[in-house]
Symmetry: C2
Subunit: 270 residues, 2 copies
């Protein structure tokens, strides 16, 4: 296991704020933090002993790996603005960005280090066992990424661009959309002065079951049991929220279609 890799972090947002200190603590050397605004770079660099801050992407330190941890849509602009040493290993951390994003910059060796997690300020990330998906344009880059990731004791996997896109899309369903549904629940409860914690044991049990068994096989609720009176009562109760009422209908239909064993993989079937 190689420690002491020299790292330059481009970006000072949520991913960089967690990944930078974690790499330092795992025995690597974060030389420099670049951000579009010097102040952001300085805030993060202050969390990492020995790291300097810069807002000048043409004056990056010489490092073993450059990690571009910025919002997906900002990656191309950062690659365009930065001056990397020829042959530098430059990786992004985005789920939905292909490796081919680096093809415009043939003097660098591209790669991907995608942590399958959501990063929020003030929350602790458990890196041990965290899935880290790796892809690299060349074997040497892949080896460096494997070295780097394995020092975090993460669950490191080689995942290609196509698989990563689908993994990211699955994460959108499982997490972003799930959070939105929990938000609707929260809003409905709040209107009735009921606390969200009333649903906590049920939500946790639902998640435990869904992670233990294929979720379609453990589907419960009024949609799954075709409980028409309950479905009708809920539709009436949602009359004041036409958007959520419509979502309820669509999700109910999708559950019932799934239960009928109708393949979704059938263009035009819906």
């Amino acid at each position: 296991m190689v420690r002491g890799l020299r790292v330059v972090m481009l970006g000072a947002g949520r991913v960089a704020q967690h990944l930078g200190p974690a790499l330092q603590q795992a025995g690597h050397v974060v030389l420099q933090v670049w951000s579009r605004t010097l102040e952001s770079a300085e805030v993060l660099a202050a969390q990492i002993p020995g790291a300097t801050a810069t807002a000048d992407a043409t004056g990056l330190a010489v490092a073993d790996i450059y990690i571009v941890a910025v919002p997906d849509a900002a990656v191309p602009a950062v690659l365009a603005a930065a001056q990397f040493p020829a042959g530098a290993l430059v990786v992004h951390t985005a789920g939905a960005l292909p490796l081919s994003v680096f093809e415009e910059w043939p003097t660098v060796r591209g790669g991907v280090l995608y942590p399958v997690q959501t990063f929020s300020p003030g929350r602790t990330i458990e890196w041990q066992k965290l899935p880290l998906c790796i892809e690299a344009a060349d074997k040497a880059g892949e080896a460096t990424l494997l070295d780097l990731a394995s020092t975090l004791n993460a669950d490191v996997r080689l995942v290609d661009t196509q698989q990563r896109l689908r993994l990211h899309m699955a994460a959108v369903f499982a997490c972003n959309f799930t959070n939105h549904l929990l938000g609707i629940s929260h809003a409905l409860l709040t209107e009735d002065n009921l606390p969200m914690k009333l649903l906590a044991p049920l939500v946790r049990e639902t998640i435990d079951k869904a992670l233990a068994e294929p979720p379609f096989s453990v589907q419960t609720g009024p949609a799954a049991r075709h409980d028409a009176p309950t479905l009708a009562r809920h539709q009436v109760a949602l009359a004041a929220y036409p958007g959520w009422q419509n979502l309820y209908k669509m999700l109910t239909e999708s559950i019932q279609q799934q239960a009928r064993g109708e393949s979704q993989n059938n263009e035009g079937a819906f």
Copy 2:
């Protein structure tokens, strides 16, 4: 705290299988289990020392409380078939059934004991702190239900029919629909030979966050950040699943509408 209440359980399904033994262990006496099929009643009665089994709803034992734990849609038929002693306290366990379901049977005192949890065979239910929502037609029934529920160390609350319906509806969003989304994730991953456990830390972190803060305030993902290229890539990747592609669009639109601060509580706005 009153123990030793005499209970008759009507129903031998998932709720009864968990609630019956839990009440016995909490110091109450489950005299009898009724089910439409004698065999089901016998299977459950065998789990409860001292309980007898019957399929004859006209020969129920004399008890302090009769708990009708059957699927919501079956409750009226069970109430019609059973002969309860005059003045008996009879409760159902359904989230979406009003207390008024008992009005057709004026010789019994109606009530509700709604556990906010999903019950599956083979899983252990943690009754301690479990939200138990109580409603009763009269104060004496309410007192008996409070006694019964408090011996389980549950989080006992008085919740009226209207609130319970909305709580149940919120649970459908937070749990049934969430499970369906996790099922879609699972199906997408499986097609790419990726294991669901890749998403486990992300799902758990999402849930932890959503239960700690208002979920709308911590929404992340391509919809929330209006990441058009990623949204477009996901739409292409979902082309073979038109139903899920459509759900993706609807949920994305709902997230963006929420972020714009548009009230959902506005008839015809969607």
